[in-house]
């Protein structure tokens, strides 16, 4: 072989060998790494407390639940205390199941629509209503009446898809790394709007259990340590407000229901800044005492709020 050709070809071969080795070296990894996990210990949307105002307020109105919501909210200082102009608001009602409003498996659509309207009136730049539904989200948001109510009020529905979740290192015992809805993290205000329902394992599902709806992934596995998972989630997400729909409550066959025989009217709305107190008062509508409900007692013990709700300042609006 000619010397010149030998050198050229040898140079090319060496360059290729170096490049191959370089790529291998650059990507070499001793432990398989999990990518794209973000570390967030707490998503806190609370407003500063006000000693002159109650921690929760309950209002009743058998004719118009919207009036009850307004009454309770006014007793808490009004919407402008919680939503400032220009803020992005995420509202998380319970939209779990392909059920009609009468079946009381999902939050009353009139209340959700009114909450959207109030936030926009307070100057919110956008109001997004979302939930990780159990049944298909298209059907669930449709049949629950929430899509129609929210869109009529000027809000936006987000039907979550795979790419709307981000893996979050929450750092709990059960909730270690878990997929969380982006819309619950990247927002300014978070309003939790549960409905009070029976649940065989947790006793009841009200506000703190409703936070499950910002989680994706294998939620069914959480039921093995349901109380702990609810408490860890309550520690992770601190809502601006918990607005509990007690206009119709589901007494049996929860959380999905189906039969109107399992539904009773209570015509009440609770608005609270203390999520534990909200759940404690609401579970009484199901005939439960908050001390008996595992996750409420555990959340109280973890100092996430008080189950002795009169201590939080309880106002009952006629």
């Amino acid at each position: 072989m000619e010397r010149r050709r030998f050198l050229v070809q040898g140079g090319k071969a060496t360059a290729l060998a170096a490049a191959t080795g370089g790529v291998a070296w650059a990507f070499h990894d001793r432990i398989p790494s999990r990518n794209r996990t973000i570390h967030v210990k707490k998503i806190d949307f609370e407003v500063p407390g006000d000693p002159l105002l109650p921690g929760l307020a309950l209002a009743r109105n058998p004719d118009d639940p919207v009036q009850a919501l307004r009454g309770a909210l006014d007793a808490m200082g009004g919407i402008r205390r919680f939503v400032q102009p220009g803020e992005r608001v995420t509202i998380k009602p319970n939209v779990g199941w392909d059920r009609t409003p009468e079946q009381a498996a999902n939050t009353n659509p009139h209340l959700v629509g009114e909450m959207v309207r109030l936030c926009l009136a307070a100057g919110a730049s956008q109001v997004i209503v979302t939930d990780h539904t159990c049944n298909d989200p298209r059907r669930t948001f449709l049949r629950s009446g929430i899509r129609e109510a929210v869109e009529a009020a000027g809000g936006t529905i987000l039907l979550p898809q795979e790419e709307d979740y981000v893996d979050v290192a929450i750092g709990g015992e059960v909730l270690g790394v878990w997929p969380v809805l982006r819309q619950a993290i990247y927002t300014d205000r978070f309003i939790n709007m549960p409905i009070t329902k029976h649940h065989r394992l947790s006793g009841c599902t009200v506000g703190m259990k409703n936070h499950y709806g910002i989680l994706g992934g294998r939620r069914g596995a959480l039921h093995q340590k349901i109380d702990l998972s609810i408490v860890e989630l309550a520690r992770f997400v601190r809502p601006t407000l918990t607005v509990v729909d007690n206009t119709r409550v589901l007494l049996r066959s929860g959380p999905q229901g189906g039969s109107l025989d399992d539904v009773e009217r209570r015509d009440a709305v609770i608005v609270a800044t203390d999520p534990v107190a909200a759940d404690a008062r609401a579970c009484e509508f199901l005939g439960l005492s908050p001390e008996q409900v595992g996750h409420i007692a555990a959340a109280h013990a973890a100092k996430l709020g008080t189950l002795y709700y009169p201590e939080a300042g309880f106002a009952e609006v006629p």
């Binding site: 794209r36 059907r139 093995q224 066959s253």
Partner: protein, 558 residues
């Protein structure tokens, strides 16, 4: 109008019908903008199976197998009657698979047997084109024996099935993967741009939910093969295999449209032959084959001398005196063999055990499905039910329904369960293999039973409260019936540390279970679920029952 202008009309017609067909397939999905109607039902705003109802092969095959012409299949006369007078205009002007084949066939070949002038030779009539008549006779004979195999090879069913379960879902996966890849590059402007493009594409092409269908590789390979064969012979599928083309060929026997050839002006340039789609020998000097012609008009548009022209009125042979060719020259013996094979295949398949005495427990049919025998007499495997299912519950069967039921729909609850208030699969079924149901017929009322597709069974060896004394009630939580078919028994057990643990163990009430599979879908034991549905208890069957008081007797929608 000049032949060249008329050819443009044909091209526009092909494009429009391909668009309409694709649009209807795209619209066979639960759109995020659907609304409830006054009775609380959700139905699609478009007649998405219209194209399948226009299909004369679907109509005739289901007529032979079920002795009824279901609902919209009367529309097929719109195609069939004009074919009798004017020939196979459907193949050349309307058929969407034909249009795709046409496009692929006409991509230029740079080398090989179809390059340049050699293409004319491959476009002459070849004996392989007779094979489609044998396919037709086979599927019609099988239909007469009660088994609808025509849907496997019917071009509209094949295309709807391939687009719906293979092409569009694969596109979805590819697009989502590409988007993910671009985003992971870590440059936000690029990621945002990719997201914007993805969103625009998604609005048109991608359904809300990414679908994953069972065993689609074979389905995809068949589709790719059909497309690839166009590079061997132009429109190989249309000329040699398509049973719908064969049927329309038979029906065009008395057509008045004829090709008049003038051998005296012909210069033998063979341009007509090179452009021919049907392989019907438009070139002067040999007989024109009416039943092969797609009426694409390429020959008349290409001829520089005006030597070939379409004329109304019977054309006997041509000016050179060549005799007319019989409509279906497959020969009596071959025809008898094809019919005999079709007749014999059905009892052969049904003598095997899977049809009757040993059905697969995973052969869970969609709600409203007719009893298996009647179901197989009607299902054309168009895949519309699978595509419209909002939960991705319906899948093309591999062998769950035996060879006879290849690609017929089955429910795989682990992937998706049957939504109690959803009735879309029966709504889109073009042949009534799935009867349309109202919500009341689906979930049952005070007096009427629900439509059951199977029964759930707890696997006590895998169920957390049963096998491992861990609390879990997810199946009960998800059970949609009122009262719940999955109910819980509270027991106190002692764990290995000696502590008392209260657990609730699920049991299934077979009298209430509809087999919807919500429990199986939600069960946290992710791979083989601890509660699983099998077909036993299905409303449509007399025999496949557990309870003594349930004799099936499917209540059919009238």
């Amino acid at each position: 109008m000049t032949p060249r202008r008329l050819r443009w009309v044909r091209r526009i017609s092909q494009g429009l019908f391909l668009l309409v067909f694709s649009w209807l397939v795209l619209k066979t999905t639960f759109g995020v903008d659907l609304a409830l109607d006054r009775s609380g039902e959700i139905s699609l705003p478009y007649p998405v199976s219209l194209f399948l109802e226009l299909d004369p092969l679907v109509a005739i095959a289901t007529l032979l197998s079920s002795w009824t012409l279901y609902r919209g299949l009367l529309w097929s006369l719109v195609i069939l009657l004009p074919t009798i007078f004017f020939g196979r205009f459907f193949c050349g002007w309307i058929c969407p698979l034909g249009t795709i084949n046409h496009l692929i066939s006409e991509l230029p070949a740079r080398r090989g047997r179809r390059a340049g002038g050699r293409k004319g030779e491959t476009n002459r009539y070849h004996p392989y084109q007779r094979f489609k008549y044998l396919v037709l006779l086979f599927v019609l004979a099988a239909a007469a024996m009660g088994s609808l195999q025509a849907g496997l090879l019917d071009p509209l069913c094949l295309l709807a099935r391939s687009l719906g379960t293979v092409v569009l879902p694969t596109l979805h996966t590819a697009a989502a993967g590409l988007l993910d890849g671009v985003k992971s590059l870590g440059w936000p402007p690029l990621g945002n741009a990719a997201q914007w493009i993805y969103d625009q594409v998604a609005v048109v092409l991608l359904p809300f939910r990414r679908a994953h269908f069972h065993g689609i590789l074979l389905l995809g390979l068949v589709f790719v093969a059909v497309l690839a064969l166009n590079r061997l012979f132009s429109r190989f599928w249309c000329r040699g295999i398509c049973p719908l083309g064969a049927l329309l060929g038979l029906f065009s026997r008395f057509s008045f449209l004829g090709l008049e050839k003038d051998a005296s002006t012909c210069t033998h340039c063979n341009r007509c032959l090179r452009a021919c789609q049907g392989g019907d020998d438009p070139v002067p000097g040999v007989p024109w084959r009416k039943t092969e012609c797609h009426l694409c008009l390429n020959c008349t548009a290409e001829c520089p001398e005006g030597s070939v022209r379409f004329r109304l009125g019977p054309v006997l042979g041509d000016a050179a005196g060549a005799p007319p060719v019989p409509a279906m020259d497959v020969g009596r013996r071959a025809a008898l063999v094809a019919v005999g094979a079709g007749l014999a295949t059905v009892p052969l398949l049904r003598t095997g055990d899977t049809f009757s005495v040993n059905p697969d427990p995973d052969r869970i049919r969609p709600p409203g499905a007719l009893p298996e025998e009647e179901f197989l007499a009607r299902c054309v495997r168009c895949g519309q039910c699978m595509r419209v299912c909002p939960n991705n519950a319906l899948h093309p069967a591999a062998l769950e329904a035996g060879f006879e039921g290849l690609w017929t729909p089955v429910v795989i609850p682990r992937i998706g369960y049957c939504e109690p208030t959803c009735t879309l699969c029966g709504e889109v079924c073009p042949t009534g293999a799935l009867a349309p149901l109202t919500i009341l017929q689906k979930i049952g009322g005070a007096e009427t039973p629900p439509s059951r597709i199977g029964t759930a069974f707890v696997d006590r060896g895998r169920c957390l409260p049963w096998a491992m004394d861990r609390p879990c009630i997810v199946c009960e939580e998800w059970c949609p019936t009122s009262p719940k078919a999955v109910h819980l028994e509270e027991v106190t057990v002692t764990d290995r540390e000696g502590r008392e643990v209260a657990v609730m163990r699920p049991r299934v009430d077979p009298g209430l279970c509809t087999g919807c599979g919500a429990c199986e879908h939600a069960c946290p034991v992710t791979d083989r679920r601890a509660i699983r549905v099998t077909a036993v208890g299905e409303s449509r069957s007399w025999e496949n029952q557990i309870l003594p008081d349930r004799s099936g007797a499917p209540e059919r929608a009238s």
